[in-house]
């Protein structure tokens, strides 16, 4: 009893520190279905008007096309990241590779130092190979940026698979490829799953690459859509509307987070522990 009482100040302090986040996310939910009188943050009326953009393209432009594009964008990135990380991570964890040390260090440096700084170089590479202003180009770049993390995570998961499993597989007459596919890959499923979740959330939220590498293209993802909608100079200047679009945009992430909280927390923290 005394123990619980003495924790009250601590909980209060924590609550105070968390207040900005709590307020922001609380109002993200509340504001999408209410109106507030001018000069006040406290809503006084319930309304569904802010969600009209879902059915009426005149409000902010069609939202469904960007949604489908974003789904496609995310799915492609997840697929690339999974395939390349699962093979690359395995090679670095278990196979004979020349310059292993150097490659591993390289992956780690690329991971630790996200080279969005190199966007100028990326921009030029895409121009040279003709993928500038295309969805494919942006997908490739985003997947590449995620790869060092993915490879590193997968290497960590492969490292935990007992060597004996592979030795036993080799003894049983299976080729190294079969051993990987049928014996090792099933052991790292949790890793693949966590990586897929992480990549999906990351790709879903990506804004800069589509904006910079495909500025005048005919596709829009939800991030660029939301940014266009919430432009302060737009005719639709209305934070309740921005938040509705934003909440719509974030719903899939919230759903994933609600279902897979444990795994996500692990990869967001543990993933970088090396």
């Amino acid at each position: 009893m005394r123990r619980t009482l003495s924790l009250w100040p601590l909980a209060l302090l924590l609550a105070l520190a968390s207040a900005p986040i709590a307020i922001m996310y609380l109002f993200l939910l509340v504001d999408t279905v209410t109106n507030a009188p001018p000069g006040s943050a406290i809503p006084n009326a319930l309304t569904l008007a802010h969600w009209r953009f879902l059915v009426d393209p005149r409000v902010t432009g069609d939202v469904w096309r960007p949604t489908v594009t974003t789904l496609l964008f995310t799915a492609s990135i997840v697929a690339i990241v999974l395939v390349v990380s699962s093979t690359g991570g395995y090679a670095l964890s278990r196979l004979n590779v020349p310059f292993r040390r150097f490659l591993l260090a390289g992956v780690l440096v690329m991971h630790a130092f996200p080279l969005v700084t190199l966007i100028i170089g990326v921009f030029l590479v895409l121009q040279f190979v003709g993928l500038y202003n295309t969805l494919t180009g942006v997908i490739l770049v985003k997947a590449a940026l995620m790869l060092p993390f993915g490879i590193w995570i997968m290497k960590g998961f492969y490292d935990t698979v007992p060597w004996e499993i592979e030795m036993a597989g080799v003894q049983d007459g299976a080729s190294r490829f079969t051993v990987w596919r049928r014996l090792v890959l099933p052991q790292v499923k949790p890793g693949l799953f966590a990586l897929a979740l992480f990549a999906a959330i990351d790709a879903w939220g990506e804004y800069m690459l589509p904006r910079i590498l495909a500025p005048s293209s005919d596709f829009q993802v939800l991030s660029t859509y939301l940014n266009a909608v919430s432009d302060p100079d737009s005719t639709t200047y209305n934070f309740n509307l921005f938040k509705s679009v934003g909440l719509f945009y974030m719903l899939p992430i919230l759903a994933l987070y609600a279902i897979f909280r444990e795994r996500l927390t692990n990869i967001f923290g543990g993933g970088t522990k090396g």
Partner: protein
Amino acid sequence: MRLTICDFTKTFDRTTVIKDMNLVVEDGEMLALLGPSGCGKSTTLFAVAGIHRVDGGAILFGKRDVSHLPSQKRNVGVVFQNYALYPHMTVFDNIAFPLTIRREGKADIDRKVRAIAELAHIGDLLARRPSQLSGGQQQRVALARALVRQPDVLLLDEPLANLDARLRLEMRSEIRRIQMETGITSILVTHDQVEAMSMCDRIAIMDQGAIRQVATPSEMYRQPASRFVAGFLGNPPIVFLDGEVTGDGGFASRGVSLPLPGRLRHLEAGRPISLGIRPEHVGTSGGARVSGQVVFVEPQGRETLFDIELEGGAILRSIQPAGDDARVGDRVDWAVDSDRLLVFDRHGNAV
């Protein structure tokens, strides 16, 4: 199938861990590779299995040179210390895996898996997953998986190390029974002398990357080739006394004098030797006698272990059938079976 290891050499990062090792395992024989950890026994096993490369020499299965074949082409079965069962597969799929890799027919696989499962007494566990099995059952599955494709050689890497004491006893005889029923040439790697002695036809004892002696268990126990072998085998361990040969064909050290075994009476006087005295040869019967004070008593149930301190300070160990004849502090005068004493020269080799 006869297994021959010929001048085998293994190097890791320019450090040679095994040099020019030679060993023959006869067809159908079960041989123990016994030694302290780090002696190179597992390295040898992995080289035979095709997991480690051979840096020199050759490994022959029958007449076939497999030195540079990957393990997929060697047809060896291995049971690993942690069993290495595939956790995502049922017991049936685990055992069937080597056969599915060979693309054998479904009916064939089913028949073979059931037969080997019967042999290993796990016929009723086929639908389970490894995580639902006890240690002993996992061990049996690993054994069945290693045997199902009738390997030329069966390799067992510390197979009992992860089992508790009771199961260890049970699996010791089970592995031996299955090995004898299948008649597959086997190598057992272990650091446990009891396993080696109870399960195998012969023992090869290894130390620092070299084989010190190859012999049957009883021969090795009775006639160890070196002080290392004598010290490694036997529980409670042997006691060594360093001293020299006396003029009358005896042995003297720090106030102890004992007659040498009959066959060694001719040794020249003054030669430095060490005497190995096993605890069971001190106590009730024998031609020589020693007297001293009991300094330690450890009742072990059926037997009792004593340490007695002789006048010169040397300590002898004795194991005797349980009784309450001596306590700490008692002075005793016990017999020593001098004909069973082991004698080693200055370099530790048996004389």
